[in-house]
């Protein structure tokens, strides 16, 4: 690790001032991605602004029609929240599938979204539920937030404050975890919302999370497993690595989509 300055401000305004003070200053949330990156010297920020001292960034508010979760809320809190489990069990369940208990005790919603790992779980929920990412300066619809591998619409000094998830009529998430890392080889969130069916796929696509519009159209015509028969994602657009080929991931995403629909139909 290269040396860095460490700050733990107690307000969002103070955090923004600190981050804006230099071009190599980064926010620190749960550290479950950033600390390993610092250790490998893949990142060498001059300063870290720890968001853990800002109490308002943590918590879950279940309101009529939507659920708002603070950026610094750890995955474990999302997984265990009784109110959330009652209205949006697919989201609590997704959080409970992230990594392992120790990672879930530290890792946060905001950190996961800001990082936009192509194999992370939360991005699938954001796209499928048409969530809104609330930042220190604006509101960004999920559809405009994820810009490709590890790329988001965030400005360098812009912090995620919370995420607002509209509550779908019903939803299910199915994930095939990489047996070693627990990240998704393919994870599919299927949601029936007021605006129709939405299918979001993570883990598989070369440019990160995406909506599978062909599957959405098919399920709108009939919300049954067989509606997905014959559909195929383009293998050449899928991640191909030592864990599996593009064709394998395309097939896996199809199987996860079928399982998610089967749980709802």
């Amino acid at each position: 690790m290269f040396p860095f300055d460490y700050h733990r401000p107690d307000s969002l305004d103070a955090a923004r001032v600190l981050v804006a003070a230099g071009d190599d200053i980064k926010f620190l949330a749960g550290g479950q991605t950033l600390i390993p990156t610092l250790k490998q010297r893949l990142a060498a920020p001059g300063g870290l602004v720890d968001l853990a001292g800002i109490a308002s960034l943590r918590g879950i508010a279940v309101g009529p029609g939507s659920v708002t979760i603070g950026a610094m809320t750890p995955h474990a809190d999302v997984a265990e929240h009784a109110g959330l489990r009652a209205v949006l069990p697919a989201l609590a369940g997704l959080a409970g599938l992230i990594g392992d208990p120790a990672v879930r005790n530290r890792g946060t919603l905001g950190g996961s979204l800001a990082n936009n790992d192509p194999t992370a779980d939360y991005p699938a929920a954001c796209l499928a539920f048409d969530a809104v990412i609330l930042t220190s300066g604006r509101e960004i619809p999920a559809g405009l937030f994820f810009l490709g591998l590890f790329e988001t619409a965030l400005e360098p000094d812009e912090a995620i404050v919370a995420v607002r998830f509209p509550i779908p009529r019903r939803a299910a998430y199915e994930k095939f975890p990489n047996p070693a890392s627990r990240y998704a080889m393919a994870g599919v969130m299927v949601a029936e919302t007021a605006d129709g069916v939405r299918v979001a796929v993570t883990g598989a696509g070369q440019s990160g999370v995406f909506r599978w519009e062909e599957a959405e159209t098919a399920l709108e015509a009939g919300f049954i497993v067989s509606a997905l028969d014959g559909l195929q994602l383009p293998a050449e657009d899928m991640i191909a690595d030592i864990h599996g080929s593009g064709a394998y991931r395309a097939r896996l995403a199809w199987v996860m989509a079928r399982r998610a629909v089967a749980r709802l139909a």
Binding site: M1, F2, P3, F4, D5, Y6, R8, L28, G31, Q32, I35, P36, L38, K39, D50, A52, A76, E80, G99, D100, P101, A102, V103, N105, R106, R182
Partner: protein
Amino acid sequence: MPAIALTVNGTPHGIDIDGRALLVDVLREGLGLTGTHVGCDTSQCGACTVHLDGRAVKACTVLAVQADGHEVLTIEGIGTAGALHPMQVAFREHHGLQCGFCTPGMIMAGLDIARRNGPSVGPEVVREELEGNLCRCTGYHNIVNAIMAGAQAMGGMQIVGGAPDADAPTVSAA
């Protein structure tokens, strides 16, 4: 060198550290608490598991400065050689260790499992929740049995101090 305040196993410490120091290094090298092990240093193995403010964390993936002002519980804080913690007794009785390298992390993870799932936690939940703790010796079977027995023996008590934990669930999620 930043100075941090850490309460470790109930004892407050003021420690001068390198700003980059990991929590696990401060525990082992700064405070001589070498029961917490480093297996991988890449967040995978769980040998470094300690409790930070009551929750299991991988101490190789927490900066010591992040723990400034907070409470840490390590394997040294749960029992003594003469009076082992019920979870430690369960690991001995059920032969939940061979070389013992993973054991401190397994026990701290096991206590976190007991805290969240209560005394009658079942084998599926324990196996699922040991995802982040690797053992190269035992094949896990006896570790799973030890954690279930340990949780049962604790009967919903607080991890340290013994009194019943008001928040402890009494029914298993399994």
